[in-house]
Amino acid sequence: MKVAYYSPLPPERSGIADYSALLLPALARRIEVAVARRGSRRAPRGADLALYHVGNDPEHHWWIVEALRKRPGVVVLHDFVLHHLVAGMTLGRNEGNGYLDAMQREAGAVGRMLAHGVIDGLLPPVWEHRAHEFPLTGEVLPFASGVIVHSRYAERRVREHGYAGPVWRIPHPAWPAPADLPAADLPSGRFVIGAFGHLNRAKRLPQLLEAFALVRERVPEALLLLVGPLAPGLEPELPEGAIHHGYVDEQRLWSLLAAADVSVSLRWPTMGETSGVVVRALSLGKPLVVSDVGWFADLPDELAVKVPVGGAEVEVLADTLAGLARDPARRQAMGTAAHALAEGEHELERVAEAYTAALEEAAGGEALRDAVTAEVAAAAAETGLRPGGEGLGEIAERLREVGGGR
């Protein structure tokens, strides 16, 4: 079986590019994969099926969505919320009507009026603070013959959206932790709290800084390690004991992650995404502190403390971090569980096998359903069972269980 594979790839700086770089070799050991060139208008020849990696960033994904609209296929939905993507592919090209129409499809007249307000500069851009309320996922799902998601959360959202096609939940593959990492060169004897990735309001940076100040009162040796570029306009005053590194390369990222005693990944609002940093932290066996939302809430309790968003978020976060600082045995147990998860359901070969299963089901599934249904329907008709009868109702239900029916 041959699959046309659409995804950003390195050297593009994108989490999904890194994802595909990890997955592709393992997938290519199982099925024939033809990688589509970025921006290519022509689909790879002879493919039985196309696989589209769709994320929320228009810069990396516009051409993939355009290809999907020409030829439906299986969509890997890396983010459930696609507002940024749709805004970029409409407003970003001065196609205001496209945005108006998308918002109307999403939320009716209210959506259209809101979009008008944004276009006319009367309202702040929806994608800045309210994208999760208007995910615009409906701009992509109708073209998907099947959807692959990474979390129960995303699966639930896709179904709530009314998508009736097949949905496969396939965990994010884990990178193997590199051996022989260079030292991180951090001050010794400190309890290192790491936060990695783009630093912005959605990562709850203000709350993290506030909580860290409280932690320092109880754990003077605590050190907050912030790694990643700061969002434009965000110039926080770092409390004592906090250090910031901007963009770092992959190896440096691993070194700094390895030096952390606990990895913090907060989020709100969530776009329904998974976090490559969290997956790397699992590989390194790091205890996690995350927001109790989206994919993060799906993580097992044995390895991740989940902090509710809002309310007493800062206090709970501070208590959690101070508690972990004083409890190395718990950190050890959480780290062991994290590593086991990385080597279990996130293990690369297992993930590649799940992809292969999904793609094989998608490519031949319809023909199979038709064939099974036709044979059974013929037998049912010859037996005298007629559409609408009780007997056929049960047959249809049982048929679905063996891969037939619809």
């Binding site: 094989e360 031949g364 199979l368 099974v372 891969g403 037939g404």
Partner: protein, 341 residues
């Protein structure tokens, strides 16, 4: 208790699975359970037929029969375990192996077309559903259990079936190696013939019937085995017991076999078993230089092993008797106790 033992039936074919099914019914009846063997003919080709045939099982209603409830269903192998019942126990003989470890091998059945790949995945989905809903899950060997865990994540309890009751005895350690079982490619009788070709002192008797017999008989002629390999066809239970009683050793080396009753039968006749390192289930009971010999799957290695045994009858006797002790440990009392817990 009213119990339905479910097993597919391949018309005109009888092998170890059929023996286990029949024995289970008989042993349950002996213990006072009203028991019936429920079978549906099974044909697994071409194309999607494997799923439409599984569908037949899925549609059966075994909750009651003639107004009286059926208390328990014990399903054995694919696709009989697709049957729905509120108290379903699966004693797994094997899954549909062509959809798993035999895929993309000479013994596989699905080609690379998207439709065929999807049929294979359909079998996987049905397994996850129908095995996952079982109240209890047993596998006849660690090999079958491991395959099940790898393919579905389900972890069954290992419960080997006791060997069929034959008038087993040991008369002598004669001059031939015995092969017993259905003659198809997977049983790898060919390797035994090649071993005979490699060592002209060896003789064998091949008991059983199957689709590969004609090819193997032709191979024996081509290799000039000149009567050293005798094909008996199907034999009666008494004839089989006599063959076990008088052979030197029993050869049993299918490719990655599920379990295999033959080693236990050999042991009950106090005969050692010669198998290969890739035989799968038999390796759980045939231990090298303890209850038999385990060799690389080559004609030369097999020939050397058989010749060695012919020159070391004391070892053959000692290992056969050690095997007998193991085989006698398996009992229907224990098996049924576990199945009905």
């Amino acid at each position: 208790m009213r119990i339905a033992v479910c097993a597919p039936q391949v018309p005109f074919i009888r092998g170890g699975a059929e023996i286990v099914g029949d024995d289970l019914v008989e042993e349950l009846r002996k213990r006072g359970h009203e028991t019936e063997l429920v079978t549906v003919p099974f044909k697994w080709y071409p194309g999607e037929r494997v799923l439409t045939q599984a569908f037949l099982w899925r549609l059966l209603d075994l909750e009651e029969a003639d107004g009286a409830p059926i208390d328990l269903v014990i399903a054995t192998k694919f696709p009989s375990y697709a049957v729905r019942h509120s108290n379903k126990v699966v004693w797994l003989l094997h899954q549909f192996r062509q959809a798993y470890e035999l895929d993309r091998t000479d013994l596989g059945q699905f080609d690379e077309s998207p439709e065929q790949r999807a049929v294979r995945r359909g079998v996987h989905q049905l397994d996850r559903l129908s095995l996952g809903e079982a109240k209890k899950l047993f596998a006849i060997s660690q090999n079958v259990a491991d395959r099940l865990e790898r393919s579905t994540g389900l972890v069954p309890e290992v419960l080997p079936p006791p060997p069929q009751e034959l008038p087993y005895y040991c008369d002598k350690y004669g001059d031939f190696v015995l092969s017993v079982g259905r003659i198809d490619r997977a049983k790898r009788v060919e390797l035994l013939l090649e071993a005979l070709a490699a060592d002209t002192s060896l003789r064998c008797v091949i008991a059983g019937e199957g689709p590969d017999r004609e090819r193997l008989e032709q191979l024996a002629r081509q290799r000039g085995l000149d009567g050293r390999a005798r094909f008996t066809g199907r034999v009666s239970e008494e004839e089989l017991a006599d063959l076990y009683a008088s052979c030197l050793a029993v050869y049993y080396a299918p490719v990655d076999e599920d379990f295999g009753l033959v080693p236990y039968e050999a042991f009950l006749a106090e005969k050692p078993v010669v198998t290969t390192t890739d035989a799968g289930g038999p390796l759980e009971v045939v231990r090298d230089h303890s209850t038999g010999l385990v060799v690389e799957p080559t004609a030369t290695a097999l020939a050397e092993a058989c010749t060695w045994l012919a020159g070391h009858l004391d070892s053959a006797r000692e290992w056969g008797r050690a095997g007998k002790l193991e085989a006698e440990r398996l009992s229907w009392d224990h098996t049924i106790e576990r199945l009905l817990v």
